[in-house]
Structures are given as structure tokens and as C-alpha cells.
Amino acid sequence: MGLIGLGEDTKMLTRAKIEDAVKNCLVKAGTTFRPDQLRAYRRAIKNEENQGAKWVLERILENAEIARRNAVPLCDDTGIPHVFLDIGKGVSLPRDWLSAINSGVIQGLRAMPGRPMAVRGNPVERVEQSKGLFRDPGKVSPAPVIVKSASGNKLRITVLLLGGGPEIRAKTYRVFHKRSIEVVVGEAAHWASSEARSLGCTPCVPAIGIGRTHVEASALMLEAMKDGSLSRQDHWEKRVTELINQTRVGPLGLGGNTTALGTFIKIGPLRASGIRVVSMRPGCCFEPRKASAILG
């Protein structure tokens, strides 16, 4: 099998291992809550005084339990798969690693099952949705794979499923930073707060990327989702959550203390300039739906 990055300390991964890992991660991401999510919801239920809001939070936990027990999707919008690879310097990938990832996504979508929402037709027909939809959930192709180098000799594969609701309310735009992180983070919190009521599927979990270009800021936003934990929040993440919760939009817009469960922020390299490019995606009540596998 052809290899890239051959070296004495390298470990070879097979196509089959990558394919299986992607498939299993995708299904797990779409059907289970992680421990940090379960803890965050239990905490929120305890702190919630609004009875309607409490009812919604309890239903979300009950839903997670049924999804786990019956191995069915948490949400019918099973999302667009995003795959993130952290490749250790000592890892050798098989020549057809990208094809293995795509194949794993297809298998995962068919197994979960994903929602059959891929649009048929040529580019214009797809925009106008005039030729209908594919019945095969496996036709929902993944977003471009993001690859980063990592230390060590392991390959970490993370599959994230991004739902449509937060996509309507996400924004990537410049912020005049005035040499203040408070200004930048405050603006992103303002965006998220303005969108929370219209989002519907609150409590939200916003992810924020701060970078040099729109592509980079969006990739950092995804990386923030990949690495973030609701059990591990830094000062600025807590600050954004606090600002959003001041809106008292609450779960489903019913009011109360829990508009945001937490926030994930990732700051990348920055350029000499009076602006920062900020990508903010509000994230819905099941997000981030993600699962990782470590190979090698």
C-alpha cells in the first residue's frame, strides 16, 4: 500500500481502520450525549426557575436517554458531516485516506440513519431545489476535511454533525478590536444574543473562531467545537455565556436562566490590523454533536 510521510518511527494505518472509525464516530456523534453535555443539562435543570424552561431541559435529557437506548438520532436534522483530522508527525496515512473518510461518512449516514436531504441536479437546479432530493442518506457529502498537524504518532479523527438551524443564524464578519479582547468577545456575544430568540433550539452552545480571513475564522470556529468541553470553560467563554444568558430568552424562547449552556472560543494567528475576522455559530441544544477516535 502506498504511504505518505514514511519514516522509521511511522505507524501505518489501513484504509479499513479509518473507514470504520469515521463510520462509528458519525453514528456516535448523532445518537449520544457526551458526559459533559449530561452534566451541563443536569446543572441547568437544577438552576432553572422557569417551569416551562425546566420542562424543555428535562425533555432534552429524556430524548438523549431514548436516543442512546434505541440507537436513534438525537435530532431529525442529522446535520452536515464535518471531519477534522489531527495527524501526529509520526503517522503514515494510506494513499487513499481521503476516499476512506468519504466512504466512512457514507456508511455512517446509512447506519444512523442520516436524514436524506441531499439535493439533486445541476448547480442551478440544486440552488432552486427543483429536481427533488436523493433518497439515500449517504448522498449527503461531507464538508471539506480539515487537517492539522499534531505531536506524537497518533491520528485523531473527529466527526462533527452541523445542524441547519444554527447555520441560518451564524455569522462571519470583521470586528474593529480597539486592542481589546472584551470588545471582540462582546461583539460575538452580541451577535449570538441577537440570534438566540430566532434560533428556536436553545439553549445554544456558541462556537467562536477569531482569525485573519473568513475561511480561517470559520475553521477555527469548527476547531473550537471540536476541542471544547462544557465542563472546561475559560474566563472569556464564561463571559460570552453570561452575556447571552442576560437576554433571558431561555430554552425554546420560553424565558429563564438557560439561554446558553456554554461557549467555545478558539483564537488563531492574527495579522497586524485594526480588525479581527470573527466567526460565530450559535450551536443548538444538541451541539456540538461530535465524536473522536484515536488511531495508530
Binding site: 416551562g52 420542562w55 424543555v56 425533555r59 432534552i60 429524556e62 430524548n63 438523549a64 431514548i66 436516543a67 434505541n70 436513534v72 438520532p73 438525537l74 435530532c75 431529525d76 436534522d77 442529522t78 444512523m112 440513519p113 442520516g114 436524514r115 436524506p116 436531504m117 431545489q129 427533488g132 432530493l133 436523493f134 433518497r135 442518506p137 441547519g164 438551524g165 441560518i168 441577537s194 440570534e195 430568540r197 430566532s198 434560533l199 428556536g200 433550539c201 430554552p251 425554546l252 424562547g253 420560553l254 424565558g255 443548538c284 441544544c285 444538541f286
Partner: protein, 173 residues
């Protein structure tokens, strides 16, 4: 929790208020972005009978129906919120979805004795509430076709009724 049986009369609507938790028993229609504007065009052309759809006393849940389940999509999308006045005029009593709706829609709902209820996107839980399902019309739209579901104990909370809204004066963007 108030149990609501379909078809729903205008008097049933008068009995509920914003913030009430309801459980819906009976037949509900499911449609979203693709199919609701088509339904509106049929209403305008007096063509509903041709597809065998009766909206008097109906519930419409803003959702796709697929092997992945059902769950509310955002109701303030143009195609969905824009369809609410005509559908209410045609007899839809409860629109179920998620997200804030604007003041014009609040007024239109009041005018036609209809209400808006929200429900969390708990698809796994909903799967326990579905008794039967069938494509009612526009099958070519796949998961976005108009479906009719028989449900028992389908949960929701009243968000807009009688000119009142949980969304306050905030206008969705």
C-alpha cells in the same frame, strides 16, 4: 398538561393561553419550506379538495419526515412564516415549530383563531409518539413532502395565542 384532540374547534383554541403545555392526540400534517408555499397556492386556487387535504381544525407541524425521525425546523424562515396567514384562514388551528415569529404573524394568528406552539427538537422522544404515518401529497419532495401522522401525546407549549406571545416585542431578524 392539556390534551388537545384533532380536529380542533375554535372554542378549543379559546380555552388555551400562552405558556400552557399541551399534548396532541390525533392526526397532524407535517410540512416545511418546500411544501407549505405549494399548499398556499392550492388554497388560493381552490384546489385543496383535489389532493384530498382538509385543513379545517388541523395541526401543521413544521418538520421533515424521514427515517431520521421528525423534529421542528425554524418557523421564521420566509417560506414557513409566510404561509401561516393563508393556512390559518384555511382552517389550521395549531402551527407547531420553533423560533420567534414577527408581530404581523401574531396578529394574523389572532385574526383567524389560530395559535403557534413550540416544541424542542427531541426526535428520539417523538418517535415514541407516532402511531402511523403516510404521505398526504407532493411525494416528489421526498422528506419535505406533506405527511399526515397519527400521534398520541405529542408535546408542545403554546408560544403565541390571542395576540400574546412569549417572544415579547423582539422582532426576529
Amino acid at each position: 398538561m392539556i390534551t388537545v384532540y384533532t380536529p380542533i374547534g375554535k372554542r378549543d383554541i379559546e380555552k388555551v393561553k400562552v405558556g400552557d403545555q399541551i399534548a396532541i392526540d390525533g392526526m397532524i400534517y407535517c410540512g416545511r419550506d418546500a411544501v407549505l408555499p405549494k399548499l398556499v397556492r392550492l388554497i388560493e386556487n381552490r384546489g385543496l379538495d383535489k389532493i384530498g387535504v382538509d385543513l379545517e381544525g388541523a395541526v401543521i407541524f413544521h418538520t421533515a419526515v424521514s427515517p431520521a425521525g421528525i423534529g421542528p425546523t425554524t418557523s421564521n424562515k420566509v417560506e414557513i412564516e409566510g404561509s401561516i396567514p393563508a393556512l390559518s384562514r384555511a382552517g389550521v388551528r395549531i402551527h407547531v415549530g420553533k423560533g420567534a415569529l414577527g408581530p404581523n404573524t401574531v396578529e394574523e394568528l389572532k385574526k383567524y383563531h389560530s395559535i403557534f406552539a413550540v416544541t424542542p427538537p427531541v426526535s428520539a422522544l417523538f418517535s415514541d409518539k407516532i402511531v402511523a404515518q403516510r404521505v398526504a401529497a407532493f411525494g416528489e419532495e421526498g422528506m419535505e413532502a406533506l405527511y399526515q401522522l397519527e400521534v398520541k401525546g405529542f408535546p408542545a407549549i403554546i408560544a403565541i395565542a390571542h395576540g400574546e406571545t412569549i417572544f415579547g416585542a423582539h422582532r426576529p431578524g
